[in-house]
Subunit: 532 residues, 2 copies
């Protein structure tokens, strides 16, 4: 392509919102006008579905529910819950509402996983930065430090406890269903920790969950400090603009109203039926063409911004959990999906981007640039540090294009709440309309059922193994011997061996009754031997 | 596969190191004995190359250098540099060596990018945890807090400065070549910040770089507190077991000797010529078979450990920068590569793993499990939190296998320095031998040259644009008008528009002489209009 064609293509395939300074530039993607035209009927149909969605149709047929994240957020700032959350946060900040021993709350544990954690983590990192917790109370203007416990790893709890002063800590458990096992486990762990410190957990506990859920019932019956309801019609991975994003943000001093305003502004832009006037549709169109409607290229997301390093992790959930589906809406097996990864530029140029330049041509990359620099840092020679960051981005983009690789460029005015809202709303809409193009349900996650069931089976086996070990003091033998001796299902030998290995590794801190299982390797038998 | 076959396959394709408790289980990968056999001649040749590599052959022909990370680390603990680093760290910890104003060093800035940052970040997070910086001096036993500045984003510098007390801060600049622009920019930024605070930067500055490099000359001529040399024969992405990993680790109280011991232990295990006795060869063999020797499947790395969340980012660089190559060793165009992504389990099961379960079958996943729990947290019902983590891993693995997906499982005894050393050495060797199998140079990164050159061009254009803007006070028009007016190359209009957008966005904090560029969108012309 000669330079003039390239310049024209940039003009033709840029979607610019002059009000916010947002721009999406798709010139670096390989598609022809004919390919875009061919998608028009699909988009016309998809657009009708998006209209229905916003009008309240059941768009998640598996769960028989509406999908209201696009519409609820416009109404949310005038909802009484919004005011309640703000008032709660203000009361903690001012010290009007104190912990059980009369101390001001200074630390917040957000206990949630997946959709209940990734959005709050992204927002906290993007808007308050990596070192927020280390800033003085004055620099934080009285807002709370934040800690995320987003798994069921004892190490995560231990690390948080080492940094927390429980007398000043609020534990916020977030689970839409209220039954998420990982979150439940952490609630139990913190309740134990408070009890061990002779503190009242319930006076330091808050919850966000659906009304009537297991967590809701527990929190209300025990008299937790605060329980905030969340809507059934908002899925976890699209809950960041709801109370799930709001409460942690409010407690850390984030201007959530501005974040919502940004999301709603993008919602306005992305209700346009014209593909090239609608940044979400334009984005989805290029994803579809690049990946042959099957996700044949990985989506690499590289924001040129330290503060946005978690964006790709957030988008990874949003895109892959929404689009990674076995069946389409007619029940046909399609194995859809779209892989997402990336960290941040220019750093990634010193890491995996060697492969993007030279290696497999199996991706398209999305660069996201903030026009405004956080600070002017002059570098001798007449430019600033920000000019270098921009120079590296432009240089890399040109080098990739030169080699025939595909590049999307997004500009935002700056990294702030409004623009973060725009970015999230953009991808939420792009994912929803892409799902329509490939005729799948973007709002369920059926794939997790199988593994949850299988995990339950392992927990049952764990109990059986422990019970047997407890009765076999003094015994020794292989895992197969053990299964036979204990009358356990020998077909589960692989799982049993895994459980015995753990019992042996943890026996010092967790004996099974009087038994402290050990293991040693018998080289001749090529097998571990366990001793109880 | 029936259960007995499955159990036999687990036994047959597990590589167990009983001394350390390490195990690699490849049973969940789809390969036949015949496919493994077919690789034997390739492995025999590759093994000879690995032997040559360790004997000191030039294995990076582009850069005409040896590759010594496997061998140097065995000797490193008895090298005088090792003792020098430990003594330096001890002197800072004790306060024997103080900052320019006589205060004890309490904070360390690691200024480095790519290979100079990812390893230290991984190690710090894995061994000292996410909240190390928030722990009291007593809990840190006098060791330093750590901050990473790993880009050239002014936001990164600003965030670090907000958390730092410069009188107590050591800035460690790490650049093998000594000419890395991003690192140089940060050095300049910190030198400015110290000067602005009327503090002596050189009494707070240290460097790790090759003897004779630009950074080395600067540090020595200015009299920096410490300069530690690094070997030319160790590449950035394999430098974590060298002084690059050592100095930051030592300053944060990490037992680096144990880390090296772990790496060397794995080096011993991975010098075995037999594929199934050598965990690195076995791993590389399954990568090769799964991806048809071309990386046709993404490598998803999911450690079931909060502390290891950065492992996939580290492996992403190690694998993709090493294997993502255009040419093979004979100059043939091959476009090799192997995509890597992932975060941590069980968390990821609530994010992208929906797609792995149900969506595209275009990956293999590697689960990494620590047998020892960080803490015993009992959950009502008779199991612990760690049992749940294990249960979720096993359940997910079984669910994936049930659906015909491919799974590698790695067990380590616990998350500590020794085991981290083992993991890093395992993947270093696997990558090196895989590169031999596909006949590429694993140790160069030619793809970055093109983008560095292109970036340099953008910086030159930046200077030209700024110079022109400074002379055009009162002028207004489009970017095209500007290019014509200023006599700039109109073929670079896309780049010029990008630069003008930045000047407008930052004009309040960075006027160009007397000019504060603004822009507004002219809807009729569908173009930004700039006003100087």
């Amino acid at each position: 392509m000669d330079r003039q064609e390239w310049i024209d293509r940039n003009r033709k395939y840029s979607v610019i919102d002059s009000a916010s300074g947002f721009a999406l530039n798709l010139a670096g993607m390989k598609f022809t006008p004919a390919q875009l035209d061919a998608l028009k009927p699909k988009f016309a149909a998809a657009h009708q579905e998006m209209v229905k969605l916003e009008a309240g149709a059941v768009k998640n047929p598996d769960e028989k529910r509406q999908v209201t994240h696009f519409t609820d957020r416009a109404a949310y700032p005038s909802d009484p819950v919004f005011a309640e959350v703000e008032a709660f946060a203000a009361a903690l900040r001012s010290g009007e509402l104190k912990g059980g021993t009369g101390k001001k709350f200074e630390q917040l544990v957000v206990n949630g996983i997946g959709g209940s954690a990734l959005g709050p983590q992204l927002m906290q990192f993007a808007l308050n930065g990596p070192y927020w917790n280390e800033l003085t109370e004055a620099k934080r203007q009285g807002w709370l430090r934040i800690y995320f416990v987003d798994n069921t790893d004892p190490a995560g709890v231990k690390d948080a406890l080492a940094a927390l002063d429980l007398e000043k800590t609020l534990v916020l458990s977030v689970s839409k269903s209220g039954g998420t096992q990982e979150t439940k486990n952490n609630t139990i762990a913190f309740a134990h920790a408070f009890a061990a410190a002779k503190l009242s957990f319930v006076r330091h506990a808050a919850a966000i969950t659906m009304a009537g859920s297991e967590l809701d019932r527990q929190a209300r019956s025990e008299g937790w400090l605060k329980v905030i309801p969340m809507a059934e019609s908002i899925g976890g991975r699209t809950s960041e603009t709801s109370v799930v994003g709001h409460l942690p943000a409010a407690l850390a001093g984030v201007d959530f109203r501005s974040f919502i305003a940004g999301a709603c502004h993008m919602d306005q832009l992305t209700r346009d039926p014209e593909i090239l006037a609608n940044p979400a549709y334009a984005l989805a169109a290029t994803w579809h063409i690049a990946g042959n409607g099957k996700g044949d290229r990985n989506m690499v997301i590289v924001p040129y911004s330290d503060r946005l390093v978690l964006l790709s992790r957030y988008m990874q959930q949003l895109v892959m959990e929404s689009l990674g589906k076995e069946k389409d809406l007619d029940g046909k097996t399609v194995h859809q999906g779209l892989n997402v990864f990336g960290n941040k530029g220019g750093t990634d140029a010193h890491a995996f981007i060697q492969q993007l330049n030279d290696g497999r041509d199996d991706f398209f990359v999305t660069f996201i640039e903030s026009l405004q620099d956080a600070m002017e840092i002059p570098i001798p020679g007449g430019v600033t540090m920000g000019d270098y960051l921009h120079g590296f981005e432009t240089g890399l983009s040109n080098a990739l294009l030169e080699r025939g690789r595909q590049v999307i460029q997004i500009q935002i005015a700056k990294v702030d709440a409004f623009n973060l809202g725009m970015l999230i709303a953009l991808y939420e809409r792009a994912v929803a309309v892409y799902a329509e193009l490939v005729h799948i349900n973007a709002f369920n996650q059926p794939g997790v059922q199988a593994y949850k069931l299988a995990s339950k089976g392992v927990i049952e086996l764990t109990l059986a193994v422990q019970a047997a070990v407890g009765k076999l003091a003094g015994w020794k033998g292989s895992a197969a011997d053990f299964a036979a001796k204990a009358g356990l299902d020998a077909s589960q030998l692989v799982e049993i061996e895994g459980l015995l290995a753990r019992l042996a590794a943890n026996s010092d801190t967790r004996p099974i009754g009087a038994v402290k299982p050990k293991r040693r390797f018998d080289a001749q038998a090529a097998s571990w031997i366990y001793e109880f």
